[in-house]
Subunit: 374 residues, 2 copies
DNA sequence: GTAGGAAACCGAAACGTTTTGGTGGTGTTG
DNA sequence: CAACACCACCAAAACGTTTCGGTTTCCTAC
């Protein structure tokens, strides 16, 4: 009973074109793939026929025959995070420039969804896929699901490198270090950190950067200052709440992704604390709204678009059997200083110091103040 | 010289499965499509073989044979706008629930890009497509590019309805009316509006709502208060600047999309005006950051996800030849009152009023105040 | 004991491309 | 004139599925 499409011509094929142009199927095909020998006159006749019949080549048949679809896929964990939209656009731009189509998947941090996307892409025989694994994705080799096709990891990657799988992202350790170094330079000694889910390598790296930089400055790390969230606004909010209502609260907070930074920002506002006077805040990933908030947020920004482009490039290089960039390709981050940080109000610096408390207390305070006015 | 994939089995096909299971190709196919008669024992053997060989059905071949891919596509104009991400997710959720795959395109408001997406989807023989046309898309019938496949318009649609093409969105006239009515009830008389590109029907509808509501309140509309932007932050910013630096500036501004509202918000901040005391602001589309700004922004919110779901539903209904919802399906909007509006400071109400100025001035202010506290 | 029919399976033809290996026809060269 | 190269074109065989019609086997009923 189901009424099918339109009336007449259900599908116009290359055969129809051939007939109309008085040529053979193979000639039409040759003409289409603008190679091989086909005379000017027949080429014209063919183009005419194509326009006439409104012929659309069937990519399914083509892909089937060629065993190649000229398409790649990307699956990101959260399209509502502008960082990933930027990343996708980078990948899109590069693929378009080399005539590949990009298919997009949004796993919403669910391994189930990611798996189903990968599966669907694999059935569709994409030539390769860029993965930003969901947090809940298994950390073991997932060859089972991606099968035989080329993969590159972007942004996040599993702890131990897999043989034939390229990676591109940023140096998260150094990125975090730069943020912490900056805070320390302002005089902060009690710095809280809200990292993402430990299951993502990025979070552990960023935490490591935090630790290392503290250590370098001879600041004892305090476990109560380290909170683990889930890369979303909610957890940023709740963990910031905990940090801020702690009796001996930090003078600065570093959030390792933009959504958690937003949550922390909201928490600060709710508690009616002054930012940056009462509490300094550093976020991760630059995003448009960061400049729209008051105070404008200081962040360490990642080259999202470049990561996407690089990932696509490395993937397509691999697909076409070209030698590509060296695998763990790490791009640089940038600390963008805006208005959400300043020296701590009462240079609590002192209390964290190692030496005799009183001396350091006063000198520490002076130093902090002077560093503020400088 | 190009090194192909892996080593051995380039592709395992249904034939391999058949061989391994000691069955025929047709039986395996029957087993896969869980219909038809196939005995328990052979079904088991087949499943065993599938697992063993890690067989993945080839969607290309399947689609080719079936002339149906069980996939639909959506192309939205701006993935960095959370409204469209929500819309996409709605479509995704519905399609997934009925076992369709959703392909996503992000045209970035460029007709060239949109066209190329549509083309690519069409070649891929998706079963249908949801379009949110780019602003620069031609307003005439675009059958040429979508060819024969079912289409439904979501959110935006061309001025005159096309015969077999369904539409789903919101009633933009009433949505705008509700915003303006609210502002008027607060006592505003000079209300600026920044609408999107006139080429999208949504913008003209929203402008019409604005006009109608003013008229209903006997307020003469002032052409200098009407600005046409481009649905992006930049133009929101610049037009708000113009409105706010105007000698006789409005007491309230209504922006017809979220990005322009952000731009206006930024402009207000830059001019160091107090919102809402100096200037009230109403945005369009709810978005997460709206609650994070100070003041929290009052917006008219659209059911983005539902629009996406509806669009997918209507499309798939049409694909499967089912009777669907009546075509111009308009969902309701909601005015979400937050903190970005209050009665105008000097009830300039009076000047716009028709009757005796002084009376209305004072009464207007009082009324507004009470309506706010209620 | 045989006709009838259901159950379980199978072979082969399509779906719309690309590609391989040809086939004539036309110049050019020794 | 034979040999050869080259040009423009074509027929047919894949690519990996699904489906249509047919075949075997086995049971039941008369």
């Amino acid at each position: 009973m189901r009424s099918k499409r339109k009336s007449g011509s259900s599908q116009v094929t290359i055969r129809d074109v051939a007939k109309a142009a008085g040529a053979s199927v193979s000639t039409v095909s040759a003409a289409l793939n603008q190679s091989d020998y086909v005379s000017e006159s027949t080429r014209n006749k063919i183009e005419e026929a194509i326009k006439q019949l409104n012929y659309r080549p069937n990519a399914l048949a083509r892909g089937l025959r060629l065993r190649k679809t000229h398409s790649i896929a990307i699956v990101v964990p959260d399209l509502s995070n502008s960082f990933y939209v930027e990343l996708v656009r980078g990948a899109e731009d590069y693929s378009a420039s080399v005539k590949y189509t990009l298919l997009i998947g949004d796993s919403r941090e669910s391994w189930e969804d990611e798996r189903s996307y990968l599966d669907s892409f694999e059935r569709r025989r994409v030539d390769g896929v860029i993965r930003v694994p969901a947090l809940s994705a298994p950390r073991k080799r997932t060859a089972a699901v991606t099968g035989d096709i080329p993969v590159v990891y972007a942004d996040r990657f599993p702890p131990l490198p897999e043989p034939r799988i390229a990676r591109v992202g940023v140096d998260n350790v150094r990125a975090a270090e730069s943020a912490i170094r900056y805070l320390i330079s302002l005089g902060h000694r009690r710095i809280g950190v809200i990292v993402g889910d430990a299951s993502s390598g990025t979070s552990t790296d960023r935490l490591r950067g935090y630790m290392q930089e503290l250590q370098r400055a001879n600041i004892r790390s305090d476990r109560t200052l380290i909170h683990e969230g889930h890369n979303d606004v909610e957890s940023g909010h709740s963990h910031a709440m905990q940090l801020l209502t702690h009796p001996n609260r930090p003078t600065a907070i570093f959030c390792t992704n933009n959504l958690m930074a937003m949550g922390a920002f909201a928490a600060i506002q709710e508690l009616e604390l002054l930012c940056p006077e009462d509490i300094s805040l550093v976020g991760f990933d630059d995003f448009y709204w960061a400049t729209m908030l008051r105070p404008k947020m200081t962040v360490v920004s990642q080259p999202a678009r470049e990561i996407g482009m690089m990932a696509a490039r490395m993937l397509i290089d691999e697909i076409e059997g070209r030698q590509s960039i060296a695998s763990p390709m790490l791009l640089g981050t940038k600390l963008i200083v805006r208005d959400s940080c300043c020296p701590p109000r009462f240079a609590e610096v002192s209390t964290a110091r190692v030496g005799s408390p009183k001396n350091n207390s006063s000198s520490g305070r002076k130093r902090a103040v002077s560093s503020q006015t400088s």
